[in-house]
Amino acid sequence: MIPERTPEGVDIPAELRQGPGHDTSEVVPTPRADRIGALTAARSRGLWRDAFRETFSKTSARVGAVILLFLLVLAVFAPLIAPYGPNEVLLGEGVKPRQPPCIHLFGCPDDEPQHLLGVDGNGRDFFSRVVYGARISLLAGLAAVTFSILIGTAIGLVAGYYGRWVDNGLMRVMDVLLAFPALLLAIVIVTVMGKGLFNAVIAISIVSIPVYARVVRASVLTVREQEFVAADLALGAGSLRVLWHRILPNCLTPLVVQGTLGVATAVLEVAALSFLGLGIQPPTAEWGSMLAAERNQVFTSPHLVVAPGIMIMLNVLAFNLIGDGFRDALDPRLNR
């Protein structure tokens, strides 16, 4: 039994003290050594946890996280939050199309049914539709980015690793895609493939592939030259193994930053395509198409135009704020 040697004046956490009955069959480190181990463990929890902590220690990223959480709750619990179904037509029971909001708290007579955001042109409860819209917007944005990250990463890895004509060819194609304004190209692609949410998502992801391909290629070019990669190759590791186990993990940081910011752009573009009537088709509740349906009523029933736009903005804002936070925490060029 090693005697307890607690240095004077240093408070050792209770769980680190050796109490009686402790199993001493193994080598028991001194409390002091143990404590130092615990301290170093606390200092470095690995890149990702550190970055995460640093990101969300900032107010702006926290605000983004709260907004995102709010939208996630809306999306997941939409049936519980929304008083009516998104496509439930309420005409007849004293409900007029484009009726202004009726909120009991603000003096709307109690015998009238409550409509927090009024009623839309087809006699549907607008609040319920806005709530359900969160589902499409979040899903479409995330799906578009996931798809373009997958393709873009593959292209960037291959181009950066193999270099020469492969690199040249692939990156010239990416240059051509980047030469079009994103929304314009997305519109043309959707026209070619046909309207609809799925096609809109595909179009938006195709348009943003070059961004990820470039980001990944740039990090591959730096990682490829490093010694641990050369060592792996010297040991006889195959290209695939090196790409997957050595190079890809080192490309993840810029991808996470770019991907988070990319969701914001994708959400905006999905809404824009739906606004132009090329994305999701009515009657599905989606913020962009809800705006399109009521946009000529902006002069008479502005309440139907305000809410969907604010929701789109909140969604974009959330991902922008979190993405900026990630960039500040992860981009080594910014760490001064």
């Binding site: 240059d175 030469a179 994103a182 519109i187 043309v188 606004f275 902006v298 002069f299 135009v305 922008n320």
Partner: protein
């Protein structure tokens, strides 16, 4: 320097070639029969076959592509299938609308964005700075089309009877049709003159008709603000962070240490370097503006490039889709090229690499 420009121009050539090919194929695969779109739904098969032979659609694709490349090189963009007018004529008529809008939006973005950014950097970490950055974050997250609708609502409905009222759509008051400036001055029109005269603000200015000038400017304000808000927010953020970066450098400390007042330190010494990254952002934003123009033009009923393109896609007018997409993409590439070259003029360090 010249060598750099030439090399940069040469790298643009494969991209431009790629653009032409991609545009060609995209326009071919737009679903729907081009002939039925051109001649009406009831066109018989013989009539269609004859039409396709006349415009060359019966040839195999590679032949069509070769012909198209030749046409593009001689600046012949073909004839609109549904409007029966040369695409180049449509461009002369409608590109000015978009150009005017984009320039006005860029004006809003730079002349408001840069001062705001400087101000925020000047008051680093003060409530002004924080408020401005919150505003900029909201600004970049705003859907253009929604912002346009809101501006219409505020300035054309809420403020209708005040002096702040602004028209919600169109380019001039209904019924006002100013003559093109070259007629007023007794000149004969040509393509360039018509192009210029289609920019209402410039046209009125060139005839010194201040009432029409003011009317055109008033019509331009809302769309320009709607379109310019996102670039404005980006430029403000960029200016701020770049200026803060420069203000931390040694030469700025030297300037301060020798007793120079804060204003000349910021405006003369720091700004010169801080504006470098901002020029790039301004150039790149122009491309975003061209894309955003599609949405803005729809909302403010302006018949510009975006609106025409959108209508052409719906009408399966493949020549217009080809021509307009091509012009926008080429303009985008040229603007980026110009940004690069301007940047190397401003910052000689880039030239070395």
């Amino acid at each position: 320097m010249l060598r750099f420009i030439i090399r940069r121009l040469l790298t643009a050539i494969p991209v431009l070639f790629g653009i032409v090919v991609l545009v060609f194929f995209l326009a071919r695969v737009i679903p729907g029969d081009a002939c039925l779109a051109a001649l009406g739904e009831r066109a018989s098969e013989e009539v269609c076959a004859e039409w396709e032979e006349r415009v060359g659609l019966d040839k195999p694709l590679p032949v069509q592509l070769a012909r198209y490349l030749g046409d593009v090189l001689t600046l012949d963009l073909g004839e609109s299938v549904s409007l029966r007018r040369p695409v180049s004529e449509l461009l002369v008529e409608r590109l000015p609308t978009t150009l005017e809008l984009a320039i006005a939006a860029m004006f809003v973005a730079t002349f408001i964005g840069i001062p705001l950014g400087i101000w925020a950097a000047y008051r680093h970490n003060s409530p002004t700075d924080v408020g401005m950055m919150v505003g900029a974050n909201i600004g970049v997250s705003m859907p253009v089309f929604w912002l346009g609708l809101m501006l219409q609502f505020v300035f054309a409905v809420l403020l209708k009877d005040t002096f702040l009222a602004l028209p919600a759509s169109g380019r001039l008051e209904p019924g006002v049709i100013p003559p093109p400036f070259y007629e007023t001055w007794g000149l004969s029109g040509n393509g360039v003159f018509t192009f210029i005269s289609n920019m209402e603000v410039l046209n009125a200015f060139l005839q010194l008709r201040w009432d029409i000038f003011w009317d055109a400017v008033r019509h331009l304000i809302l769309p320009a603000v709607a379109l310019g808000t996102i670039p404005m927010a980006i430029i403000a953020r960029m200016t701020r962070s770049s200026l803060l970066d420069v203000l931390g450098q040694d030469y700025v400390r030297t300037a301060r240490a020798k007793g120079l007042a804060e204003r000349p330190v910021v405006m003369k010494h720091a700004m010169r370097n801080a504006m470098l990254p901002v020029t790039t952002v301004v150039g790149l934003s122009l491309g975003t503006l061209l894309g955003g123009a599609i949405l803005t033009e729809t909302i403010f009923s302006l018949t510009g490039v975006g609106k025409t393109l959108y209508d052409a896609i719906t009408a399966r007018d493949y020549t217009v889709v080809q021509g307009f997409t091509l012009v926008i993409a080429v303009a985008f590439v040229l603007v980026n090229l110009l940004t690069d070259i301007v940047y190397t003029f401003l910052d000689p360090r880039v030239r070395v690499t």
